[in-house]
């Protein structure tokens, strides 16, 4: 059962990293405009000359 002593902290650590990432993105305002984010991912504004149309 020694393995539990490694696995439990490891599981918690992974969970904490995810929680930290969520808190960070919340603080950065990434949840402020969910509708916009859904559309922005489809935009081609990173392709040169595309918005010159």
């Amino acid at each position: 059962m020694i393995v539990l002593l490694f696995l439990i902290p490891l599981a918690q650590l992974l969970g904490l990293i995810a929680l930290g990432a969520f808190m960070w993105s919340l603080k950065r305002g990434q949840f402020d405009d969910l509708d916009g984010a859904a559309h922005r991912v489809l935009m081609d504004d990173d392709i040169e000359g595309e918005h010159e149309r």
Binding site: M1, L26, F31, D33, D35, G36, D45
Partner: protein, 752 residues
């Protein structure tokens, strides 16, 4: 147009960055995000332009002095967007903070619940788990649960504490008690190496409740944001005249008593005050309900919200001195609002019954087991189990879940809710009182004889009308919304003229076009008729303009009557005008010539008869009545004070949203009751188990999540409506509502 004074709305942060927010009108699809941001990207000095598509807002950030805000706005205007500067209201800022806080709590509770569940499943499944491993799992669970609950439970603990201190019981009291006792008992059990710990139930409960609360909050915030945008779009700007004669446009909040404000023909008065120079006719229907125009001259008292018809005015702004009409309205409003806050929500009524009942059940369980000879420890544990299982998770979700779904459905239909308990009160209404002017009739006057006039004449007249700002000309222009404006010369107070095909075309007063005789004949027949004359060589026409019923008023009234509502009209307008409308709608209960206080008195009388009145009105004079009624709705093109007093506002020209709102509210209320019944049934099964001492953590977890999910699923049915509007239709409804009658170019045209 005078330059706008933007500086008053720019916020400066400590590191020298400047920020400006604006509501953007005309953003109809996701492509607009890219269009706006790319369009502004190359402006000198601008660091950041970011569109928030959810709120339809634009935030600009810059440090460099080279950046000129006015040029950014000019560029957006050329692209076809209307931009209105925007100051985030304190209340909205707080809402955003609360929303983030709830999301943070939810994340932590969710994290804790999942990780503890991971450990708990091990304990449940491994029946032959050795006691030291079980203690380790419980210990780790405690380490996660205690700090998580201390943080994520804050919203509940705080509210419960406030309620207890005020000597009341609300739903948060049994929630907090259940969570705290579950944690305390589990810690004690862990320390004494016992078999059962309830860390998973406590954290999962918090996660479920927080999810419900967050969604409820997010929906409300979204509605508020839209309402705030609309307020900014049709909003309080004023043209201030400084002592050297220069004009600047400033937000209304920056206007102080003693300032001089200029109002052009066709604009609404932004302030109360005394006419300093100029003379004009004012349409005060929004203020008093009276549709006949009042002539004002130097020295007359005028009120905000009146429409200026003929001449430019300058107005000296007055501080409220306690004697004006507006002050009366404020006073009535305050009184009425106080009277209504006594309403008790369904959920509160239930929790008032529920909380003492569960506490009593827990106490009697403990006493029963003691009497049966159980040890104090066992009796207490069983009592605490009763408190844990009765912790009203499903009950606390029962109402908010329906609320979220129903207000979402209303939002899509163009109805925005102002107050949280509006749905419940709307569902209880049995009598509807309408205001006339601006509510049953459309807010702007319309041409009523268009079918009798040659189409070519209307085309030309509409093009001429576009050149004028006169409100009657706008009614003519509305007949051809896509007409190209003509280069026309405006003859002050008379009309506009332009050369068309070598012949002069005129649009204006009958005298201006030489049509006095015909006009006199028509005017003698009806006195609420306004006339606009048109002449182009031999072609001539008289446009008859008046307040007309909204396009679906008759159908809406019929639909409401079919649903058993008692309908009445209370108006501030002249008795003859009200009678005509009432007859057209087939209503027998109506009264006219009422002052705001009379309307409130009539509503009080109806209340005394035991009626629950839904008041629908838009004018400034309706604001006290809206606040005094059991529940109220206001069209969104009304004044701000009215919007603030109403429980709900609706977009668009049509009255149909009222029927839809009432239907949805009744449906939502039925769902709420079903949900409450479901959670009571859940308790009927679970509580005896707990009282008998058979409760295990596994049963607690399954029963709680099961009932919560059941209640949430049932709530979803509240939104499934045959009247459901598609997003495209909603966009159109909003566009129609917002379309400025003075001829706004579409973006397609501007892009060319």
């Amino acid at each position: 147009m005078a330059p706008f004074d933007y500086d008053s709305l720019v916020t400066h942060s400590e590191d020298g960055a400047r920020r400006f927010e604006a509501a953007v009108e005309g953003m109809t699809c996701a492509a607009c995000i890219g269009e706006i941001e790319a369009g502004l990207r190359d402006l000198p000095g601008l660091d950041h332009a970011r569109v928030n598509y959810t709120n339809r807002r634009l935030a600009l950030e810059w440090r460099d002095d080279a950046f000129d805000l006015a040029s950014a706005f000019e560029r957006l205007r050329l692209m076809g967007y209307t931009v209105r500067p925007f100051e985030l209201a304190e209340s909205e800022r707080e809402e955003i903070e609360t929303s983030r806080f709830l999301l943070r709590c939810l994340a932590i509770a969710g994290f804790a619940a999942m990780n503890i569940m991971l450990l708990s499943v091990g304990v449940w499944v491994g029946g032959d788990i050795d006691p030291s491993t079980r203690d380790l799992f419980h210990g780790v669970s405690a380490l996660i649960a205690l700090p998580a609950a201390a943080f994520a439970g804050k919203p509940f603990f705080k509210s419960a504490f406030t309620a207890l201190r005020a000597g009341r019981l609300n739903m948060d009291v049994p929630i907090s008690l259940g969570v705290l006792l579950a944690l305390a008992m589990s810690v004690y059990e862990t320390l004494t190496h016992a078999e059962h710990a309830y860390f998973d139930s406590a954290t999962m409960l918090l996660a479920f409740l927080l999810l419900g609360r967050f969604l409820d909050h997010a929906m409300r915030r979204k509605t508020r944001a839209v309402a705030a945008n609309l307020a900014a779009l049709r909003a309080p700007l004023a043209c201030r005249l400084s002592s050297d004669g220069a004009e600047t446009v400033v937000p209304l909040v920056k206007i102080a008593p003693g300032d001089i404000v200029r109002v052009r023909p066709g604009e609404r008065l932004p302030v109360d005050g005394v006419v300093a120079t100029g003379a004009s006719q004012l349409d005060e229907s929004l203020v008093t309900g009276e549709t006949k125009r009042r002539a004002v001259a130097c020295g007359d008292q005028v009120y905000a919200g009146s429409m200026n018809y003929d001449g430019a005015l300058t107005i000296r702004v007055e501080a409220a001195n306690g004697a004006t009409l507006l002050d009366d309205i404020e006073r009535l409003l305050e009184k009425a609002t106080n009277a209504r806050s006594r309403y008790m929500r369904l959920a509160d009524r239930v929790s008032r019954l529920y909380a003492p009942m569960v506490h009593l059940a827990a106490l009697s369980t403990a006493l029963f087991w003691l009497w049966r000879g159980a040890s104090l420890h066992d009796a207490l544990i069983t009592a605490i189990c009763v408190l844990i299982i009765t912790c009203p998770c499903a009950l606390a979700l029962a109402v908010p879940a329906v609320q979220v779904v129903a207000s979402g459905a209303l939002f899509r239909a163009g109805v925005l809710l102002n107050s949280t308990d509006a749905i419940e009160r709307l569902a209880e209404a049995d009598t509807i009182v309408f205001d006339k002017t601006g509510t049953l009739t459309s807010p702007e006057p319309r041409v009523v004889n268009a079918s009798g006039i040659d189409a070519g004449v209307i085309d030309l007249a509409a093009r001429l009308a576009r050149a004028s700002r006169h409100p009657l000309a706008r009614a003519v222009a509305q007949e051809r919304p896509r007409a190209e404006p003509l280069e026309a010369r405006e003859a002050h107070g008379q009309g506009v003229c332009a050369m068309v095909e070598g012949v002069e075309a005129r649009l204006g007063s009958p005298a201006f076009c030489g049509l006095e005789d015909e006009a006199a004949r028509l005017g003698a027949l009806e006195d609420d008729l306004s006339l606009v004359a048109f002449r182009h060589g031999e072609r001539r026409a008289l446009f008859q303009i008046r307040q007309v019923l909204r396009s679906d008023a008759v159908e809406t009234i019929a639909a409401l009557q079919a649903r058993g509502f008692v309908i009445e009209i209370l108006s501030g307008d002249r008795i003859e005008a009200v009678e005509k409308i009432a007859r057209a709608l087939g209503l027998s209960a109506w009264s006219g010539g009422l002052k705001p206080a009379h309307k409130v008195a009539r509503l009080e009388a109806l209340r005394a008869e035991g009626r629950r009145v839904l008041m629908i009105g838009d004018g400034l004079n309706d604001a006290p009545a809206l606040a005094a009624a059991y529940v109220s709705i206001s069209p969104i093109d009304a004044t701000q004070i009215t919007q603030a007093a109403a429980d709900a506002v609706f977009l668009g020209e049509r009255l149909a949203p009222i029927v839809l709102t009432l239907d949805l509210a009744r449906k939502a209320r039925a769902r709420m009751r079903e949900n409450l019944a479901l959670s009571v049934i859940y308790n009927l099964f679970a509580v005896p188990l707990a009282m008998a001492g058979w409760l295990t953590p596994l049963i607690a977890a399954a029963a709680m999540s099961g009932s919560s999910i059941l209640v949430t699923l049932n709530a979803l049915r509240a939104g499934a409506s045959p009247l459901h509007l598609s997003p495209a239709l909603r966009e159109r409804a909003q566009l129609v509502a917002l379309a400025d009658s003075s001829g706004q170019k579409t973006r397609m045209e501007a892009a060319r």
